[in-house]
Symmetry: C2
């Protein structure tokens, strides 16, 4: 038995160093041999820290079975890149050995012509083709097809005999779906209950008729939400006529949940696409650059606002002291709202029908916090600079900016959701631009009226 | 069969409105009766949008079985608050009907004296007591104890007979743990393989000897990580002698993953504790206030920096235009690094032994982006204001602030992790304070030397 926790942390980096060393000396086969006895999940983690070329070298030098397992464990971008660079015949052989949802997922990522070539060389092309019609991130793309199902009129004994007689590759789940005479999903039976029941009990009496199911086009995030909400270990996928297409397993949904949370978190922090902490420097640079460029562009708007009021500042330089205060407080309040609403939408805690309610609440919080911090900031400004008009200017600008922050933080993810876009796109870059522009604008406009 | 997806979104708010209406009229029993036929997960979602007093009213008016199910589905804070306010005798009865990990979790949240009273009234006090010694957020607190296990010398037929003979309440998992003669975990067998094997096959031949297990004290986030990494549907929990204590199920780990991701996301966005989008306004206000206050305090530091250089700004008001540019660009770059490193640590993608490597990479990115954006910003400043010294001041301040942002964004979560604190605590409030103070400081200090 393995002591996973400690071993993993200590082994991963040293294995990586050895593999990198061997690759540097061109000892490709030796590097592959080092990874062969390691669990594919650990090996994939090591692989993810190598360059694309090195990943390809390793995958080419392990056995086809190992290559199939590795491609299934690598993150999708890396796996598709490697598959795309592999020799066609070798890839066909590897995909035949992979699980069908992995194979379909990789094939979806290949250019159309190459995909046809690969499928032409696969023995299991038909099985994979049935999955290819579904979107990668939908229930259809996640499910395992080709299930063994029971019939509601079988006895427990007949059901077990049916399981024994089913073809070997079919996935036999521990939760067995039961169909009625019309081929429609009638319920779900535990293998455990089937084994423990007396031989003549009908499956109909053992099964639970309340089954949660999703249609094939359902987004994977929604599937994850249903499984988390109802503590399901499997989720049947049906077509529009309630006919069974396949089954999503909780193992696969765990990966989806981690992926989606990471994606949202990074998007909120202004990343274009997912990035690995220890991935190559060049890729990190490319991933972050567009958002930094965008921010430079948007922050120019804030700078332009200040530029308009340059003479106001020249006449009252102490105003510059309060610019970051008003802008930053709005930035934090807006980030709070933005993150909460985005996460609420992702978890399904905030049904879209309650959008108005959430918006009103955030607006109300904006007013309350605005008045509170407006009073505090205004008093501070008065006490610090001994200027009552300055106190009023700072206080009112704070109230207005906090309201803008609350409204904007809620409206942006809700609007994106209404437009069927990812709510997390309303990221830090956009939010802080708005709170900066509004904060500077309110403060300097009021100051130009009241102070100078 | 239910059509879950659409029904949920449309039913949740209207049920909530009906329940709220009935509660307003004091019709507590009617409100409880509305929730009774609904799946407990949906009912709990409705309950979470009510006040604590209303939650208690509902739980008091449903059957003890329903109360147990509801407490198991409510978020922990609400469930503990309700349990604490319940009558002792009623609570003992409800906890006897709850699953043991839920009961232990709630008892942990009660004051010591009340907990003793409740356990005194419980029939299953002994079973729960064995779980209470573990931390709520540890493997021991998540596991289901009291497993039916197989012995490696049993035949398939004997194993199934053993399962049939086991006491009814014991959880029979689909993955059966197998112990050797020394009571140590020897492997794991699929119920499926047991059923499909010939009667005389030994369990030893059917089982998989490679089992991932964790010790009872392991943090739940680490457990989730191991299960996600190796696609496990169950994770055995052992003591320091490798003797089996219990089993963690993937259903429970899905909740943990969502909780931890939400917690990290909200912490990064400067929330003290988890908050519900549609929760009561007063609670939202209280949750966010401390961080807004903290930000007001920290932003005063940035204001103080500007205050020191007030005469510099009075002499060159156009400097104020470039203050937000340098600060904001550092803020975004720092947020990117902070979020990526925090998420990497949470997912276990960034083993602590690679901390130095991550730090060097982020510092290198800081230098590269700093030089790049320093050149761009410096050229912009020169082109805009026709002042070459201003171009140098803005460019150099940008380089320095981007390096600070990269370093700080990486050092803070890594340091928190080294101190065994939550890396996500290095939140937006702290990060933007540093990038504001550094950005303003560099720009104004350089300006006071070179420009005025």
């Amino acid at each position: 038995m393995e002591e996973q926790t400690t071993e993993l942390e200590e082994r991963a980096p040293s294995t990586l160093q050895i593999v990198e060393g061997l690759l540097d000396y061109g000892l490709l086969q030796d590097a592959a041999d080092i990874l062969a006895p390691i669990h594919e999940a650990d090996a994939a983690r090591v692989l993810e820290q190598l360059s694309s070329g090195e990943q390809l070298d390793i995958v080419r030098h392990v056995s086809p079975e190992q290559a199939a397992a590795l491609l299934g464990q690598l993150n999708r971008d890396d796996a598709v890149r490697v598959a795309n660079a592999m020799d066609g015949e070798a890839l066909s052989q590897v995909l035949d050995l992979a699980s069908m949802d992995v194979a379909a997922d990789l094939l979806r990522g290949l250019p159309w012509g190459y995909r046809r070539e690969i499928m032409g060389g696969m023995r299991r092309a038909d099985e994979v083709a049935s999955l290819l019609s579904y979107e990668d991130e939908s229930a259809g793309g996640l499910m395992i097809p080709d299930l063994v199902v029971l019939r509601d009129w079988m006895t427990a004994e007949e059901a077990i005999a049916h399981l024994r007689g089913s073809k070997p590759r079919a996935e036999i789940s521990n939760y067995l779906l039961v169909m009625d005479r019309h081929n429609r999903l009638a319920g779900v039976a535990h293998l455990r209950d089937l084994v423990l029941a007396s031989a003549t009990t009908a499956v109909r009496e053992l099964m639970n008729e309340s089954v949660h199911a999703v249609e094939a086009g359902t987004d994977q995030e929604e599937c994850a939400r249903v499984m988390a909400q109802y503590d399901l270990t499997q989720l049947p996928v049906v077509d529009e006529n309630q006919e069974l297409l396949g089954l999503i397993l909780s193992e696969d949904i765990i990966d989806v949940l981690e992926e989606e949370a990471t994606e949202d978190m990074l998007l909120l922090a202004s990343f274009g696409e997912t990035e690995k902490t220890l991935g190559p420097l060049r890729r990190s640079f490319r991933t972050r650059l567009p958002w930094l460029l965008l921010n430079l562009g948007t922050v120019m708007m804030a700078a332009a606002i200040i530029n308009i009021f340059e003479s106001t500042i020249a006449g009252a330089a102490f105003l510059a002291v309060f610019l970051p205060m008003v802008a930053s407080q709005g930035g934090i309040a807006g980030t709070q709202t933005l993150t909460l609403v985005t996460r609420g939408l992702a978890l399904g805690e905030l049904p879209f029908t309650s959008a108005r309610r959430a918006l009103l609440k955030e607006a109300a919080l904006g007013v309350i916090n605005g008045v509170l911090f407006g009073l505090v900031a205004g008093s501070l400004a008065y006490w610090w600079k001994g200027n009552p008009e300055l106190g009023i200017v700072v206080g009112v600008a704070m109230v207005l900016n906090m309201i803008v922050a609350g409204l904007f933080g809620a409206i942006v993810p809700l609007t994106l959701k209404a437009l069927h876009m990812d709510p997390a796109l309303g990221s830090a870059v956009l939010l802080t631009t708005v709170t900066d522009v509004a904060g500077f604008g309110f403060l300097l406009l009021l100051a130009s009226w009241l102070l100078v």
